[in-house]
C-alpha cells in the first residue's frame, strides 16, 4: 500500500467517522444544537487541514489528524460533563478531558519536530480505545435501548478513529522503536561479539577436520558450525593459504555475513575439552568440544520432539522474509530481461 493511499484512507476514515458521530448526535439532540455542530466542524476543518498537511509528509498528516482528534476528545468530554448526570458518563467525560489536551499537546509538538511523540500519540489512542471499548461493552450490557445503541455506535466510531491513527502511525516512514526496543536492538548487536557466551562449541568431527587441515601440506578451507544454545549458530571458517592459517568467525551461520573476527592463526591447541586458537599478537579464543549436539534443556521435549515455540514463530517470519526477497529478486531479473 503506497503512502498516498494510506493517507487518503486515513483521511477518509477520519472524515466519515466525524460525519457519523455528527449524524448520531443529531438523532438525539436535533441537527442544529451546539453539541451536534461541534463534531461536524471539527471533522470538516480537520479533514481540510489534514489534506493540506499531506504536502509535508506522513508525520505532518498524522500530527494534524491527531490534533483535531484531541480537540474532538476535549469537546466531547466537556459536553458529556455538562449534559450527563450519570456517574459512568461522568467518569468517561473526565478521561476524555484528560486525554484530549494530552493528544493536542503531543500532536502539536510532533508537528513542531519532537519525533518521539509519535509513540506517545499511539499510547493515548490505546487508552482512548480501552475506555471507549469498556463504555461500549457496559452500555451493551446495561443500557441496550435506543439511546444506548446510538451511544455504542458513537463509541465505536471513536475507537475507529483512534485505531486509524494507531495503524497509520506505524508506517515505516514515521514509526520508530520504543526506547526499550531501541536499547534492545543496540545491545543485541553488541551481543554479536559473543563475549557473554560461554556455551559455544564445535563437534569433535570438526576438530578432526581442523587438525587434518593443519597437518596437511596443501592449502584448503574447513567450514565449521559454531553451535550454542545461548545464541543462534555461527560459522567458523579456517582457511589455509600459502601454509598460513586464518580463522574467521561469522555473525550468522551463513557465509555471506560479516566476519566478527579475522585472526591470523599462530597455533591451534585441540585438547580433550577445548579448542583454543592463538594469534601472533596475543589474541586468543576458546571453544568447547562435544562429540554430539547438546540438547537445549530450556525447551520441552515430548515424544522425542523438541518443542520450540520461539523458533516456530521466527521460522514463520524468516520464511516470509525469504519469500519476499526471492520475489524481489525475480522482479529485478525480469526488469533486467
Amino acid at each position: 500500500m503506497s503512502r498516498y493511499s494510506k493517507a487518503v484512507t486515513s483521511i477518509l476514515v477520519f472524515y466519515l467517522s466525524g460525519l457519523g458521530i455528527w449524524f448520531l448526535d443529531a438523532l438525539m439532540a436535533g441537527p442544529l444544537s451546539l453539541q451536534v455542530i461541534i463534531p461536524l466542524v471539527i471533522a470538516v476543518i480537520g479533514t481540510v487541514s489534514t489534506i493540506q498537511s499531506m504536502r509535508g509528509g506522513m508525520r505532518d498528516m498524522l500530527s494534524s489528524e491527531a490534533f483535531f482528534f484531541g480537540i474532538y476528545l476535549l469537546s466531547r468530554g466537556i459536553i458529556i460533563m455538562i449534559t450527563q448526570r450519570d456517574l459512568g458518563f461522568f467518569a468517561y467525560g473526565m478521561v476524555l478531558i484528560i486525554m484530549g489536551p494530552l493528544m493536542i499537546l503531543f500532536a502539536s509538538s510532533l508537528w513542531a519536530g519532537f519525533d518521539y511523540n509519535n509513540f506517545r500519540i499511539r499510547n493515548i489512542c490505546y487508552a482512548v480505545m480501552a475506555i471507549a471499548g469498556t463504555k461500549l461493552f457496559l452500555t451493551f450490557l446495561f443500557a441496550f435501548n435506543h439511546d444506548g445503541i446510538i451511544y455504542m455506535l458513537m463509541d465505536f466510531l471513536t475507537i475507529i478513529v483512534a485505531l486509524n491513527i494507531v495503524i497509520f502511525s506505524m508506517d515505516r516512514s514515521v514509526s520508530q522503536s520504543s526506547l526499550m526496543q531501541s536499547i534492545r536492538e543496540s545491545t543485541d548487536s553488541m551481543s554479536a561479539l559473543l563475549y557473554n557466551v560461554n556455551d559455544a562449541y564445535i563437534l569433535g568431527s570438526g576438530c578432526q577436520e581442523v587438525q587434518h587441515l593443519i597437518d596437511s601440506d596443501q592449502d584448503g578451507q574447513v567450514r565449521l558450525k559454531l553451535l550454542s544454545n545461548q545464541i543462534r549458530n555461527r560459522m567458523l571458517i579456517f582457511t589455509k593459504t600459502d601454509g598460513k592459517l586464518r580463522a574467521d568467525l561469522h555473525a550468522t551461520d551463513y557465509v555471506h555475513a560479516n566476519p566478527l573476527y579475522m585472526m591470523d592463526v599462530r597455533d591451534v591447541v585441540i585438547g580433550e575439552r577445548y579448542l583454543t586458537v592463538y594469534s601472533h599478537e596475543g589474541r586468543w579464543f576458546r571453544l568447547l568440544i562435544y562429540e554430539n549436539l547438546q540438547e537445549d534443556y530450556t525447551k520441552a521435549k515430548i515424544f522425542g520432539q523438541v518443542i520450540d515455540f520461539d523458533l516456530y514463530l521466527r521460522r514463520y517470519s524468516y520464511h516470509r522474509l525469504l519469500k519476499k526477497n526471492i520475489r524481489e529478486q525475480e522482479d529485478e531479473r525480469k526488469e533486467q530481461e
Binding site: 557466551v197 560461554n198 585438547g271 586468543w284 576458546r286 534443556y297 525447551k299 520441552a300 521435549k301 520461539d310
Partner: protein
C-alpha cells in the same frame, strides 16, 4: 540436629523439588483439574465443566510428558492453563444481570487473559518483567480473597456460595505460580535481564567498569606472575601452543565477578598477556587481550601499563568489603 546439617538438608529438599519441578507442577495441575471437575459437576452443566477443566488436565499431562523437565515449558503451560480455565469460568459473570458482578467479571477476565499472555511469553522462553507478573497474580489472589469475603458475608448478588472451593483452589494455584516465576532461571529470562547480561559482559570484557577491584591476594599473584616469582603450584603449565605458564585470578566490578586470565608466552622471559572475561569456564570469545609492560602500586590502586599505551587501574579492595566469617580483629584496615 546440627545447624549446618539442617541447612544442607533444607537445601537438599529445595534442590530436589526444583529438579523435579515439572513432575510436581504437572501433578498439581492434574489434581487441580480433577478436584475442580468434582466441584463443578455439582453446580455446572457437564459441557461447561469439561470446557473449564479440559485444558488444565491436558496441559498437566503434557508437563509430565516433557522429557527435558523444562522450567519455561512448565511455567508457560501452567499459566496458560490457569488463565484459560479462569477465563472460561468467569465468562458467565458478564451475563448474570448485576452491574457490579459484570464489572468484577470484566476485571477478572482481563486478569485471566493477562495470565494467558504471560504463559505464552514463558513458552517462548522470554518473560515480561517478573515484578508485573507477580503484581498481576497478587491482584488475582486478592480478588479471590474478595470473593471469599463476599461469600462469608452473604453477598449473593456478587458471587455464588458454591464458588468457595474454586476460590481457595485458585488462590493456591496462583501462589504456586508466583513461587515458580520467582525461580532464578525464570527471572533471568526477562528482556531486562538479558540486556543486563550483555551489558555486564561488555563492561567486564572491555574494562569499562566504574569500580574494578582486586583483593590483596590477587594483587600479589598478579605482581608475582608478572615478575616471574609466582610459585609453580599456582600456575597451569602448558606444553602446547604459545602459552608457557598461565594463571587465573578474579576481580570485581561492584557486585559483579569477572575473571582475569594471565598468560606468559614463549618461555620464562616471554611477554605477559592479560585477558578479561566474564567467565572462567566454558567458551571464551570476543575477549580483548593486552600485553603488560609494567605493574605498579600507587596508594590503594594497582596500575597496569599495557604495550599499546593504555592503562588499566584496579582498586585494591579491603578485606571488609568481601563477605565471609565475621571475627573480631581479623579484618584490618587494608
Amino acid at each position: 540436629m546440627e545447624y549446618g546439617g539442617f541447612r544442607g538438608f533444607y537445601k537438599g529438599i529445595l534442590d530436589f523439588i526444583m529438579s523435579n519441578i515439572s513432575y510436581v507442577m504437572g501433578t498439581i495441575m492434574i489434581l487441580y483439574a480433577i478436584f475442580s471437575i468434582l466441584l463443578d459437576m455439582r453446580t455446572m452443566s457437564p459441557g461447561f465443566t469439561v470446557a473449564v477443566n479440559i485444558v488444565p488436565l491436558l496441559f498437566g499431562i503434557l508437563i509430565l510428558l516433557d522429557a527435558h523437565h523444562s522450567l519455561f515449558f512448565t511455567v508457560g503451560m501452567y499459566a496458560v492453563a490457569i488463565g484459560f480455565s479462569r477465563f472460561v469460568r468467569y465468562l458467565p459473570m458478564e451475563f448474570r444481570g448485576s452491574p457490579i458482578s459484570s464489572l468484577l467479571g470484566l476485571i477478572l477476565l482481563y486478569m485471566a487473559a493477562n495470565l494467558i499472555y504471560h504463559g505464552i511469553r514463558f513458552l517462548r522462553g522470554n518473560s515480561r518483567a517478573i515484578t508485573w507478573v507477580i503484581i498481576g497474580s497478587l491482584f488475582f489472589v486478592l480478588f479471590q480473597t474478595f470473593v471469599l469475603i463476599a461469600i462469608f458475608s452473604d453477598q449473593d448478588s456478587l458471587v455464588q456460595s458454591e464458588d468457595i472451593g474454586q476460590a481457595i483452589i485458585t488462590m493456591f494455584m496462583l501462589l504456586t505460580y508466583i513461587a515458580l516465576v520467582s525461580s532464578t532461571q525464570v527471572r533471568r529470562s526477562t528482556n531486562m535481564e538479558r540486556l543486563n547480561s550483555i551489558l555486564i559482559g561488555f563492561r567486564l570484557t572491555t574494562g569499562t567498569g566504574s569500580d574494578f577491584s582486586l583483593d590483596r591476594g590477587s594483587v600479589e599473584v598478579l605482581k608475582d606472575f608478572f615478575n616471574g616469582a609466582l610459585d609453580e603450584s599456582m600456575m597451569t603449565i602448558s606444553d602446547e601452543g604459545p602459552v608457557y605458564r598461565g594463571t587465573v585470578i578474579h576481580f570485581k566490578d561492584r557486585f559483579q565477578d569477572g575473571t582475569l586470565f594471565l598468560q606468559r608466552w614463549e618461555g620464562p622471559d616471554g611477554p605477559v598477556y592479560l585477558t578479561m572475561s566474564e567467565h572462567e569456564d566454558g567458551s571464551v570469545l570476543g575477549v580483548d587481550t593486552r600485553r603488560i609492560d609494567d605493574v605498579s602500586e600507587s596508594g590503594d590502586l594497582l596500575i597496569i601499563r599495557y604495550s599499546d599505551s593504555r592503562t588499566g587501574v584496579f582498586r585494591i579492595r579491603a578485606a571488609r568489603e568481601d563477605d565471609g566469617p565475621i571475627v573480631k580483629g581479623t579484618e584490618g584496615a587494608a
